[in-house]
């Protein structure tokens, strides 16, 4: 443990846990923290994980984020666009992505905010969220935990399927729907509540359950004992800082790059 661990580094370690028990699957982490987390999981506790260079090759060691200098990727296989979907349909993948909105069902949105015809904000589009969410395990990283991200009711445009029977065909749960973790700047959550309700699994250092609930647009399930999210180990911090992100891209994730240990509000 290190007292100067940043919140970004804490979130990398927390996100890495998503892949701990996955075995030999494709780990896809989109945006800086999830991508570092996939690399950290592979280097520390799940060496069987597969990952890509974020373009077209499977690599047998995680590619550092940011400027690469003399670093050369180490390809071990081909993961073309077509093969990416073949892999998805086979289910041997766990994606950790960063949606803009999430709701009580774990449904997420990266398409439009507000009215659908003339939206307040047009984002990327649904991308591969519908297919990912119905074919293989998914986890989510939400760097700004507030009621605009963790919305009341449903997200503005449902891009990924969640635990909402009203939207399932014939009310029947899709056979491969499997939502795992939500990691935010305040807490780690899962879908382990009754009827897959979102449950707080650990609180980041200095954060209270009440603070997380106040920043969430729906009721969170509160276990009797909620541990503190563990800081990355000294080995993990070393890997994050010198191998996975040697140029410090992670410092741009949170404004001011705050420390992991906040003073309680």
């Amino acid at each position: 443990m290190s007292s100067d661990c940043t919140l970004a580094e804490l979130c990398v370690a927390a996100c890495a846990e998503a892949w701990r028990d996955d075995g030999e699957v494709l780990a896809t982490g989109i945006t800086v923290v999830p991508r570092l987390a996939a690399g950290l999981a592979k280097l520390t506790f799940n060496p069987a994980l597969m990952m890509t260079d974020a373009e077209v090759f499977l690599v047998d060691e995680p590619v550092p984020v940011g400027p690469r200098g003399d670093y050369k990727i180490k390809p071990e296989g081909w993961m073309s666009y077509a093969r990416t979907f073949d892999n998805i349909y086979g289910g041997k993948r766990h994606a950790l992505v960063a949606p803009v909105q999430i709701d009580r069902y774990g449904q997420t949105n990266i398409s439009t905010i507000g009215d659908r015809t003339a939206p307040k904000a047009a984002l990327l589009g649904v991308r591969g969220y519908p297919g990912n969410s119905i074919n293989h395990p998914n986890s989510y990283f939400i760097p700004s935990h507030d009621t605009r991200a963790f919305v009341a009711g449903e997200v503005d445009f449902v891009c990924s399927v969640g635990y909402n029977p009203a939207r399932w065909p014939g009310g029947k749960r899709p056979p491969f729907l499997d939502l795992r973790l939500i990691v935010s700047n305040l807490a780690v959550m899962d879908f382990g509540g009754s009827e897959h309700a979102v449950r707080v699994r650990s609180l980041h250092p200095g954060v209270t359950f009440d603070a997380v609930q106040a920043a969430t647009g729906f009721a969170l399930q509160r276990p009797a004992d909620i541990p503190v999210t563990p800081l990355p180990s000294a080995e993990q911090l070393h890997l994050i800082r010198t191998v996975l992100d040697p140029t410090g891209v992670r410092a741009t994730v949170f404004k001011g790059d705050p420390p992991a240990a906040r003073s309680p509000a």
Partner: protein, 292 residues
């Protein structure tokens, strides 16, 4: 002798207002930008664009008011996540949309390519894309009885693709590390026009060595336009990489004055003028591979 070579004017002559146009490539990679710029400069209007994996192609046609309806899964400049002109057009409701998942688009193109009305999938079930596009479900006739999405076939009147090498017969090579879904889009099109980095003799395609880079048989192709550097500012690796500097300028052209400036410098100058304004042959050929 079969000869499918056409020039930009011949390409434009084959297009019509209100048609459905498919665009190959992926975000900032191997987009047929010379053909897209020709459309942007033309009088064509009311296009239905099938650009599932959109980039500056969609933005440019949005900025020039060519789109009536957009069928897409995303529009992104990748290193600069959002295209300013797609975003402005989308937010003002300037064009209708049908939004598809990336893999669902592949499946719909495959159905179109196979001349089937639909292909079954789970992709999309439980999300808002189903109702928005008026998609329907179908029940498995086998013992499982599962309710699946019937991904409707997607077909286009004309598809435009950018390839690395082509001969006058329409034999092509796509040499980049990822061919994306150009093959499916081509087979889902009534006509396919390819722009090519180099127009070569058939023997120079060296198919004995390059068989795996030959995306489809020549009967798929209707026209071949020689357009060196025709993917710029998107990349056509290994011939040249993505021009991040140019894309940054383009991404900053959201405001009316900035767009007027971009248009004057890069669009209203013809294709030769474009390439010169974009830095010229030597600059573009030296663009490095992108880093992600």
């Amino acid at each position: 002798m079969l000869d499918k070579r056409i020039d930009i004017e011949g390409f434009l002559d084959g297009l019509a207002d209100g048609m459905t146009l498919g665009i190959g490539g992926w975000a900032t990679r191997r987009k047929p930008m010379a053909l897209v710029r020709a459309i942007a400069r033309s009088k064509l209007k009311d296009l239905t664009l099938v650009a599932p994996y959109g980039g500056p192609d969609v933005g440019l046609l949005a900025a020039t008011g060519k789109i009536r309806k957009l069928v897409f899964a995303f529009v992104s400049l990748d290193h600069f996540p959002l295209d300013p002109h797609f975003r402005a057009g989308r937010q003002s409701g300037a064009f209708a949309v049908r939004e598809l998942d990336e893999g669902l688009a592949q499946w719909s193109l495959r159905a179109g390519a196979m001349r089937l009305p639909f292909l079954p999938t789970r992709v999309g079930l439980g999300t808002d894309i189903v109702a928005e596009a008026g998609m329907k479900t179908v029940r498995s006739p086998y013992d499982d009885g599962e309710e699946l999405l019937a991904a409707p076939a997607l077909r286009v009147d004309t598809a435009i693709l950018h390839v690395h090498r082509a001969d006058r017969l329409g034999n092509t090579l796509v040499l980049s590390p990822d061919p994306f879904f150009d093959e499916l889009l081509a087979r889902a099109a009534d006509r396919v026009i390819v722009s090519t980095e180099q127009l070569v003799e058939t023997a120079a395609l060296d198919l004995a060595a390059n068989a795996r880079f030959n995306p489809f048989e020549r009967s798929v192709v209707s026209g071949v336009v020689e357009a060196p550097l025709g993917a710029h500012p998107t990349g056509a690796w290994p011939d040249y990489g993505i021009d991040l500097g140019h894309l940054k300028t383009y991404a900053g052209s959201a405001a009316p004055e900035a767009w007027a400036d971009y248009r004057a410098r890069f669009l209203d100058v013809g294709e030769a003028g474009y390439l010169e304004a974009a830095g010229g042959d030597a600059h573009i050929r030296a663009l490095p591979a992108a880093v992600y």
